[in-house]
């Protein structure tokens, strides 16, 4: 166990020294405190090396202190809960946490992957694309190896066991960010009575006040922030969400927030959600998202021990950790002088402050006077060390940033770097606000003109604390008043002392030393040289630069690298930075679990299963399920030991020779009533319905406006102005919407009401030679003789003791009755059928048997009518009445639909013992390899137990003229084929006598 060698004796307002926590880091057992992040605890223990970089496998250390961290990505947890690529700077420490480093083999210390680093010249930006072009045949070999090398963490192989939740909220004002500006805005708006949601990604509010010893109103900044948090939490109209990132901004004031509920807990409540995905509709928002410090690129600037200056400052202030013993501080702005004083007071030796500016600022002069070793007009040109920094090469630079000598080596174990700040404009940009480049800050700031939401504080380019508070109060007050809370008052901003930043001309990079790399994007290993390469290869637009070099494409989305990258490209193009511009900002701001978006709606809940009234019976009796339009439908019923095909064959033969029953409740049902109902059906169906007798039904087909078949079904006439339409399962919603469109938009003068009643009726079809006998037993009070209830007739009465409508229609081609009852009595009817059916050898059948039966009869479904097919293609052209118009009729005379050579419906019978492959194309030659012209394709397949052969329906060019022809059904994808004979599309009882008896 290592002691916490770099933890100060006292200090660190974020940790609780009375609550020690021990944890595992790789094979080590380390100690920290409650309040630590894994990063602060690792630094406290003197741990430097925390990973290997993505491409070059270079040793990497902790760089920053927040969610912008590019390097310190660890795998936290084990088993199904393991989360790779977790930022050590964000992960809060809990007792017995396990953290493991990633992307190295065999070990972190000795990683063979670093050979890539040595061969680095072969792997510049864009090398991957070039492997495709250079030698395409070898690519499959390269790809295997590239895949093994690429990637950072490894995900767990088990499903995610955690729970996630969704929450919806409305508010008047959403404040993104709980730093000084955000707190100020929330306080004002909250006090004015507005409903406020304040979200901050950290566990405590305060933002920058937590990471530096600023004073507000005489209090240390973090105490002022804690008091503000308490005040806000006490307001009933304010919701404070910590550990919550505002992830995305969408249209119509819709915001997504991700709350991390349990990742900081050693033993989370198993009922609690791990993450909560908030969908918030806010009337207005204030973005107070702060600014992210940007580094300066110099040779080997990616070494462990090179860190962000503000992070080093924050580790001391919040966690009581010194990130090194001997430091060189390198910064182009005055914040370095206050930081140097704080670190020196805490016991760190400040070897030098290296200030690249060509002038001596007041703060620099004061520091020199205070005997700090300050080197102005100098730069750190190289970091020295192998797995960790042991020195900084420092050289004087001229006005153009060029070193004027080789420089000298300053021994140190920490190089803290600051190149200024980039306002976090992500949310503003997502909301389609535009950006302006401020030369004085060398940064993109939000343009308020035309911006949908206000920005306040350092995200708006205000870097002094008093200014941030003042902007926050103003934004909160103005927003609240605009929302109708007239009492909102902007208080006088309390006295606040931050520290000045001073004039900070930008320094993006120091020229690279020969053979050394200057990193711009740490996470994706993108160097200044890669940017130069992109320029030379003409990938000069900012979006090309991003994708060619992968700059900004890591999990950190370039938070510490995007602006430097585009600035360097601007320099190479010889243009001002705004001419290059930024890439598009897209949500989410930081990564979160997919399951959070699913929000516990995975599995059964996400796919809301629609159950018929007999669902539980099916489930208890071996149903093997399929999904149709969200309904659970049994494909067939398993019994011990029989194969699926055997079961399906049994069900088919039962219907052909005895009687079967199938649950057909899922088919769409529409109740259509009104004086114009019959006329309406005439306009919608291709055949006439206005002459249908009451108490009879007719099979109808609907077309789309383009003449293709849309849907089909039997419609029964229940009364002069009353019809019961059926549709297919999958089109029940679509047909209803379509009919409503016609009635509401196209023909509003028609007096028709359409009511979807699919779920209100349970329907079971009994089919087979014994069906009539069975129905007689079930409905003794109803005359079900062939005369009283002929094909397409209907009857009403008690069936199995339940009031029912009986429709005589047949999909299977046998005598068949569809019995409809109130869905509440569905199971009672089903049980009655089964009980009475025992005496008639009744078998229950599912969709697979139903499919075989209808294929044997050549009845088409959407498998044939796939949106490209007309009634004439299906051989049913005679269904289009010549005497009236209908939807789609106009299109039937378009040239395409009357041209010869269209594919037409045919049947196929396979040669004995051969199976027609699913999805087969039809060809003249029995050859799976050589290209040949496809004659058509198969649409439905079945084994016909009645014929003892495999059969199929197919669409074949000029099919009706080709009956008797021998062709081959070919599936090159499955490497299967069969010899087939083309026949008429009806394999069983073509006269139809069986269903009419």
């Amino acid at each position: 166990m290592t002691r916490q060698v770099w933890r100060m004796e006292a200090g660190g307002h974020g940790i609780d020294r009375a609550a020690p926590r021990s944890f595992a880091f790789n094979q080590f057992r380390l100690e920290g405190y409650a309040g630590d992040t894994v990063a602060s605890a690792l630094l406290a223990n003197g741990v430097r090396l925390v990973g290997r970089s993505f491409k070059y496998h270079r040793p990497r250390g902790i760089f920053g202190i927040g969610s912008e961290e590019p390097n310190a990505l660890l795998r936290i947890g084990a088993g199904a809960r393991a989360e790779p690529n977790t930022r050590a700077t964000v992960q809060e420490l809990y007792q017995d946490l396990t953290a493991a480093t990633q992307n190295h083999w065999p070990s972190l210390q000795l990683d063979l992957g670093s050979l890539v680093n040595v061969a680095g010249a072969l792997f510049p930006a864009g090398f991957y694309y070039k492997t495709f072009i250079a030698n395409p045949k070898r690519w499959l070999w390269y790809e295997k190896h590239i895949r093994r090398m690429a990637g950072l963490g490894a995900p767990p192989s088990e499903p995610d066991p955690d729970r996630y939740a969704h929450a919806n909220a409305h508010c008047d004002l959403l404040v993104a960010g709980g730093g000084p500006a955000g707190l100020a805005a929330a306080l004002v708006a909250g006090e004015a009575g507005a409903r406020v949601i304040l979200a901050d990604e950290k566990p405590a509010l305060g933002g920058s006040l937590l990471l530096a010893p600023h004073q507000v109103n005489g209090l240390p900044g973090h105490e002022w922030a804690a008091a503000a948090e308490a005040r806000l939490s006490a307001m009933p109209n304010v919701r404070v969400l910590t550990r919550t990132t505002v992830a995305g901004v969408y249209e119509h004031d819709f915001f997504t927030l991700v709350e991390h509920c349990t990742d900081h807990l050693a033993e989370p409540d198993p009922q609690a959600p791990r993450q909560r995905f908030w969908c918030v509709r806010a009337r207005d928002a204030v973005f107070a998202t702060g600014a992210i410090e940007r580094p300066v690129a110099f040779s080997n600037n990616d070494k462990p021990g090179v860190m962000s200056l503000a992070a080093v400052r924050g580790y001391r202030e919040r966690y009581g950790v010194l990130a090194g013993r001997v430091a060189v501080l390198f910064a182009n702005n005055d914040s370095v002088y206050a930081t140097a004083r704080e670190l020196a007071e805490a016991g760190m030796r400040i070897e030098a402050v290296v200030d690249p500016r060509p002038f001596v600022s007041e703060a620099a002069a004061q520091a020199k006077a205070d005997k700090l070793h300050v080197l102005t007009a100098h730069a750190v040109v190289e970091a020295r060390g192998w797995r960790s920094v042991h020195g900084a090469m420092v050289a004087p630079i001229d006005r153009n940033g060029q070193p004027s000598s080789a420089g000298r080596l300053l021994a140190c174990d920490l190089i803290a770097v600051s190149g200024g700040w980039n306002p976090a404009v992500h949310l503003h940009a997502q909301s389609r606000g535009s950006l302006a480049f401020r030369e004085d800050l060398a940064a993109f700031v939000p343009q308020s003109a035309g911006a949908p939401y206000r920005n306040a504080g350092s995200c708006a380019g205000v870097y002094d604390l008093a200014g941030c508070l003042q902007q926050g109060y103003a934004a909160g007050a103005i927003a609240a008043r605009a929302l109708g809370f007239e009492g909102a008052e902007e208080p006088l901003a309390p006295p606040a002392a931050g520290d000045p930043v001073g004039h900070a001309p930008p320094l993006w990079a120091v020229p690279a030393r020969k053979g050394a790399r200057c990193f711009v994007d740490f996470q994706n290993d993108v160097t200044t040289r890669d940017i130069g390469l992109a320029r030379r290869e003409n990938y000069v637009s900012v979006e090309h630069l991003k994708r060619y070099t992968t700059l900004g494409m890591g999990t950190d989305q370039g938070k510490t690298s995007n602006v430097a990258g585009l600035a360097l490209m601007a320099d190479k193009r010889g243009e001002p930075i705004p001419a290059v511009g930024t890439t598009t900002f897209r949500p989410p701001y930081t990564p979160f679990a997919f399951n959070a978006m699913a929000g516990g709606q995975g599995g059964e809940i996400g796919h809301a299963v629609r159950r018929t009234a007999a669902h539980d019976w099916h489930a208890a009796n071996g149903a093997v399920w399929t999904d149709a339009a969200g309904w659970a439908r049994p494909m067939y019923y398993e019994t011990g030991g029989r194969s699926a095909q055997e079961r399906i064959d049994e069900e088919v033969l039962a219907v052909r020779h005895a009687v079967g029953v199938v649950d057909v409740s899922t088919l769409g049902k529409l109740d259509i009533q009104g004086p114009d109902a019959a006329a309406f059906l005439d306009r919608v169906y291709t055949n006439r319905f206005s002459n249908l007798k009451v108490g009879r039904g007719r099979y109808g087909v609907m077309l789309r406006e383009d003449g293709r078949v849309y849907d089909d079904g039997v419609t029964m006439r229940l009364g002069p102005n009353h019809f019961h339409m059926t549709t297919t399962t999958n089109r029940s919603d679509g047909v209803f919407q379509f009919l409503e469109y016609l009635l509401q938009v196209v023909w509003p003068d028609l007096r028709v009401f359409v009511t979807p009643v699919t779920e209100q009726w349970f329907a079971a079809a009994i089919a087979g030679p014994n069906a009539r006998a069975l129905l007689t037993d079930l409905a003794p009070g109803v005359d079900v003789s062939n005369a009283a209830l002929p094909m397409m007739g209907m009857a009403e009465g008690q069936v199995g003791g339940v009031p029912a409508r009986i429709f005589r229609l047949s999909f299977s081609g046998e005598i068949s009755y569809e019995i409809n009852v109130d869905a509440d009595y569905g199971l009672a009817l089903w049980n009655a059928i089964l009980t009475a059916g025992a005496a008639h050898d009744l078998k229950v059948y599912g969709t697979e048997a139903m499919g075989t039966l209808r294929i044997e009869k050549g009845h088409f479904t959407h498998a044939e009518a796939d949106g490209r097919v007309t009634l004439d293609d299906l051989g049913l052209g005679m269904m289009v009445s010549g005497a009236k118009d209908c939807i789609g009729k106009r299109s039937l005379s378009l040239p395409d639909l009357v041209a010869p050579g269209r594919k037409q419906l045919v049947g196929l019978i396979a040669a004995e013992g051969e199976r027609i492959p699913i999805g087969a194309q039809l060809g003249r030659k029995d050859d799976l390899e050589a290209p040949q012209k496809s004659q058509g394709h198969t649409t439905s397949w079945a084994y016909s137990p009645s014929l003892g052969r495999y059969i199929a329906l197919a669409l074949l060019k000029d099919g009706r003229a080709r009956h008797g022809e021998r062709l081959y059904a070919l599936s090159p994808v499955m490497a299967e084929r069969a010899a087939v004979e083309v026949v008429a599309p009806c394999f069983y009882d073509p006269e139809g006598g069986r269903q009419h008896g």
Binding site: H252, E740, R890, P895
Partner: protein, 94 residues
Amino acid sequence: MLLIPCPWCGPRDETEFVYGEAAIQRPADPHALSDAEWTEHLYFRDNPKGDHREFWFHRVGCHRWFVLERNTVTHAIAGAWPPGEAPPRRKDKA
């Protein structure tokens, strides 16, 4: 996530609705149109970068069709009306 103002139910999340089609008028007598004119009606649509009038259906709600004017770039919604009640389009458009 659009917030769509159903003329009967008020503003609701877009997940309650289904997009229909551009707010075109079905020709009263399709058989009076030439093949070219009918094909134009079937397949050709304006694709404006700007305000677009379209039919939406309140599927999880009142089951009414209505006309929505929505900006295809910003999603700003200018209005929603029952079929046949949308005011004439403004001629002056940028």
